[in-house]
Amino acid sequence: METLIDWSRMQFAMTAIYHWLFVPLTIGLALIMAVMETIYVKTGKLFWRDTAKFWMKLFGINFAVGVATGLILEFEFGTNWSNYSFFVGDIFGAPLAIEGIVAFFMEATFVALMFFGWDKISKGAHLASTWLTGIGATISAWWILVANAWMQYPVGMKFNPDTVRNEMMSFIDVAFSPMAVTKFTHTVLSCWILGAVFVVGVAGWFLIKNRESKFALSSIKVAAVVGFVASILTIVTGDTSAKMVYKTQPMKLAAVEGLYDGGTDVGMVGFGIINPNKQPSDDQKSIYAELKIPYMLSWLATEDIHGFVPGINDILNGYTTPEGTTVLSAEEKMGKGRIAQQALSDYRVAKQANDKATMEQAKSILEENMPYFGYGYINDKTDLVPNVPLNFYAFRIMVILGGFFILLFIVLFLMSLRRKLEKQKWLHWIALLSIPLAYIAGQAGWIVAETGRQPWAIQDLMPVNAAVSDLAASDVKITFFIFLALFAVLLIAELRILCKAIKKGPKFSE
């Protein structure tokens, strides 16, 4: 039977997944239509204005649902993760507030000008509004990813036993954490890819239907450049992300690779079939029919083909790196976590009794063991292992699709340069069928990011079962189904409206 934690996680996952159906298109399409409008302003050709307007119409249909679900996500931190909100609210609340003040207002203000300002403001002011809408959306992505990155790699804070919470020590460390930078670049580039795939896919449909070929070819030209640049750059950001995960969340990397026993000279599994029954420390094979790229994982993680990469068993049982660094076993960490928690209890009792000496002593024990605080909540060390099959497959889906998009955009870009695009029906079909793939790739990436860090709500500090609100499972179950029903209806409506608007096509004034 599902517990409160399960339903709370499901509700959050559903809202986040649903939100992520709309946001990438908002960010990706914003860039493409801003480029198109810029061409219009530069050349004065009404064709480009009308082309931009068509994509803006689709942008508008998509935009509102993204905004609406974003509201729910923000409030769900409080409604469903009350303990979490208190325990780290001192740090975590700031990026959300800044997102509102700096980004959302920009987006909200200029999106209204963009839609309704065509005859009310000057050409230049309108162009600025279009760019600012996209910039607002992108800045908003920055701050929400700062918040997400902080959960994965908590920095810039210190635990305060008097207030029983983590408190911010350095805003710069939080706002510009390397994890945030990596997440932002990788995520925004993935949005540009999705926007570009959407545009070439829809344009491909027009070409298949032999409609609006000038519009379709021109749209592909712009989108292919954006998609090409973005997909090449994701190789770099993907690589940085992997290194970041290796450094900060080795368990996630091991799960993604289905790697139980690590070591040096580790290859990367290109593809294979994961054994769902495999448990840590048993003798079963973890991956069947694996296709391995020798040395690749070591090189990807450490920039050295002989580099050491720990596996799930190593992390659970503790290990020593070739450089001689000893990493504690899960049980040792759990022990230290309990010591930290006991020290906090002792500190609070001593504080009640105004026993300064005991307070000092407890505080120093607490500080020493604080990095393992969250392990005190873990009862069984295997709870520290995330869902391996899910991460393994989701990661491969993301990477393989990412590779496919690079190829797609290289072909589209070259064909477009040589003006050979119009006749390639097969390519139009591939472009059209790629639209759902871009969504799948983005979702798969988030599945790795979020399920790969389980059981942690905040890495090493608080597992999800200590983060949840004091609710009955049935409460969350009911809201889950209410929102599921609402989201399903809205998604169907949205898709129908989108398809109708595409079928109607652009309207040209000249």
Binding site: L71, E74, G93, M106, E167, M168, D470, L471, A493
Partner: protein, 396 residues
């Protein structure tokens, strides 16, 4: 500038955002009247397009209000949102209904038909302000909850904020299940906010829509709405002034929590108004401006600027009320079942460092308000007409 200064500063900002949010609920108030006031399709289209060019401001202010509260008073965020779960979830649900309805209502293939989206807008228009008002009323009436920070290391049950009622917020609306009758007062403020939102919606239509026949109907409706608003608003105000409030004694530490003791004090909110003349002036000027906007619109022929008087008045009134419930050693989120668990500015706020960082960020707010002002003016320069709605340009 010490810790107290920054706590007060952030309470001021949160209160100001609350005031701006209630002002911007004119979007909801206007939408609540779509089915009742808009008799023809053109009228409804004018109404939806009028509020539709502003809905994102309301939405964004709601999000920012939540974010700012989270950043500055995280214990409130974790206690109220996790505790009064259903109340907040209902609010969110109605706002989601609203957000999509503008864009979807008039589009081919919208699945549910135009009327359903009008119903969605109406539901949000009525329930949004009502529930937000009820949520704010609990600042005065209290809720049943316990806070035990030590529990974070209680491995069997690591719950910091626990809510008494298994109804999780519904008890704030339904005065049953052994809950104190004071919950009924939540409705009174809820209804006052709902009618105020409709007044503001009408005033905005009068300002924004250029259609004599329709405006005539708005002016007529305004009179009824004003009477209803005044009944509920004044009832709540009198109740508040006479009510026993929750005060903080900073001199005496509670034996259990070692924090300043919270105790009940008769006429606490009345005392607050008397002891803080600036807050009283803000509040009174606000109420007068709300009334001035309404009365000028009703009695002065051709007067269309009522929304600005009443809008600014609303911001000030709400600001005054929230300052009254937060300042002057008052527990702004009282617990009716465990008084020492009540939230005060000092016991629920972020660390000094975070408040300082956020204060630096808050310096951007005037800049944000400035560009909103210019964008708003640019969009509203041309009023909405039936011709525009029947024309070819961008519209919902």
């Amino acid at each position: 500038m010490d810790y107290t200064f920054f706590q007060n500063y952030w309470w001021f900002l949160v209160s100001l955002l609350g005031g701006l949010l209630v002002f911007l609920l004119f979007v909801q108030g206007g939408n609540a009247l779509i089915m009742f006031l808009g008799k023809s399709d053109t009228e409804r289209t004018m109404m939806v397009n009028s509020t539709g060019r502003k809905w994102e401001f309301t939405f964004t202010t709601l999000v920012t209000f939540g974010g700012a509260f989270f950043a500055s008073f995280p214990l409130f965020y974790s206690t109220s949102f996790g505790g009064a779960y259903w109340l907040w979830m209902l609010i969110l649900f109605t706002f989601v209904l609203q957000a999509v309805s503008y864009e979807f209502r008039n589009k081919a293939g919208n699945l549910l038909g135009k009327n359903t989206y009008h119903i969605f807008l109406t539901i949000n228009g009525l329930l949004g302000p009502l529930l937000l008002g009820a949520a704010v009323a609990t600042f005065f009436t209290g809720s049943g909850f316990h806070i035990a920070k030590e529990n974070v290391v209680n491995l069997a049950n690591p719950i910091i904020s626990s809510w008494d009622s298994a109804w999780h917020g519904l008890e704030e609306l339904i005065g049953c299940c052994g809950q104190p009758a004071s919950n009924w007062w939540n409705y009174v403020l809820g209804l006052a906010v709902m009618f105020l939102a409709q007044i503001l919606g009408l005033l905005y239509y009068i300002n924004n829509i250029d259609n004599e026949e329709f405006i005539k109907k708005c002016r007529k409706a305004l009179k009824i709405e004003t009477v209803l608003f005044l009944i509920f608003f004044l009832t709540f105000l009198v109740r508040t002034l006479l009510a026993t409030g929750y005060a903080v004694d900073t001199q005496t530490l509670d034996t259990q929590t070692h924090e300043p003791t919270i105790y009940t004090l008769p006429y606490k909110y009345l005392h607050n108004f008397l002891e803080m003349p600036t807050v009283t002036v803000i509040f009174l000027v606000g109420v007068l401006a709300v009334l001035a906007g309404i009365l000028l619109t009703i009695f002065k022929k051709g007067f269309k600027k009522g929304i600005w008087f009443s809008g600014i008045g609303t911001v000030l009134t709400v600001l005054g009320l929230l300052l009254c419930v937060g300042y002057n050693n008052t527990a702004y989120y009282p617990s009716t079942s465990d008084m020492q668990s009540s939230l005060t500015l000092a016991n629920s706020c972020s660390s000094l460092f975070t408040l300082k960082v956020m204060s630096a960020v808050s310096l951007l707010i005037p800049f944000v308000l400035l560009y909103i002002f210019f964008a708003w003016r640019a969009l509203d320069k041309k009023k909405i007409t039936s011709q525009e709605m029947e024309g070819d340009g961008a519209k919902y």
